[in-house]
């Protein structure tokens, strides 16, 4: 029986994106069933334009060089990879309403749901992570 991994993404910097998508794709590549619930600033990570230009946290700009040198995949690549591996991406309906965002503002293939949609998945998850 495959492991189930439930992730909450609630922050929107480039660092947060790597934390979320690295763990999600690694889990999915290890045959886990993965769902990510994107809420508040976490929505940046799947915003159609936003996810291509996520900010590096203030004062940490010097890491930019390191990202280039260590040849880490780009966030758009990781999002594509996550989708290929059937990671379920759930946008938080309530935050989207607050921010005036619609489903078409996000990358293709996301689901939109409320807290219960996520909780239903997370209820019997083996691993639950919050970023």
């Amino acid at each position: 029986m495959a492991r189930k991994v439930a992730i909450i993404a609630s922050n929107g910097s480039l660092f947060d994106a790597y934390k979320v998508f690295n763990v999600a794709t690694a889990a999915a590549a290890s045959d886990s069933e993965v769902a990510i619930f994107f809420t508040f600033e976490g929505l940046n990570l799947i915003h159609k334009e936003g996810h291509k230009q996520l900010p590096i946290p203030e004062g940490k700009e010097h890491y930019e060089e390191g990202f280039k040198n260590s040849n880490v995949p780009s966030i758009p690549d990781l999002v594509e990879m996550a989708k290929e591996l059937d990671v379920k991406l759930i946008g938080c309906q309530m935050t989207m309403d607050v921010m005036g965002l619609e489903k078409e503002h996000f990358v293709d293939g996301i689901d939109v749901g409320g807290a219960v949609t996520f909780l239903d998945f997370a209820e019997n998850a083996d691993v639950t992570l919050t970023f």
């Binding site: 690694a26 590549a29 260590s70 040849n71």
Partner: protein, 75 residues
């Protein structure tokens, strides 16, 4: 050591070696051997754990000039 497929994951950073390994192993048959070349220093512990989670078998691994090589037998 003989292998049925070779995956070149050199130069790739986490989590790509694992993602590529997953894709490559899906393309071979049970009992066949996948050979992986990687330069990511985390690859050894990652692949060891990955093999365990999928029930595969790590037959052998080696390191030469900064290149890690792994031979995995598909379950």
């Amino acid at each position: 050591m003989n292998s049925d497929k070779v995956l070149d994951a050199k130069g790739l950073a986490c989590p790509m070696p694992i993602v590529k390994t997953k894709k490559a192993i899906d393309e071979i048959n049970s009992g066949e051997v996948l050979e992986i070349h990687a330069t990511d220093k985390g690859a050894k512990s990652d692949l060891t754990a990955w093999v365990k989670s999928g029930g595969h078998e790590l037959l052998q691994d080696s390191e030469e000039d900064g290149v890690f090589k792994f031979w995995i037998k598909k379950a």
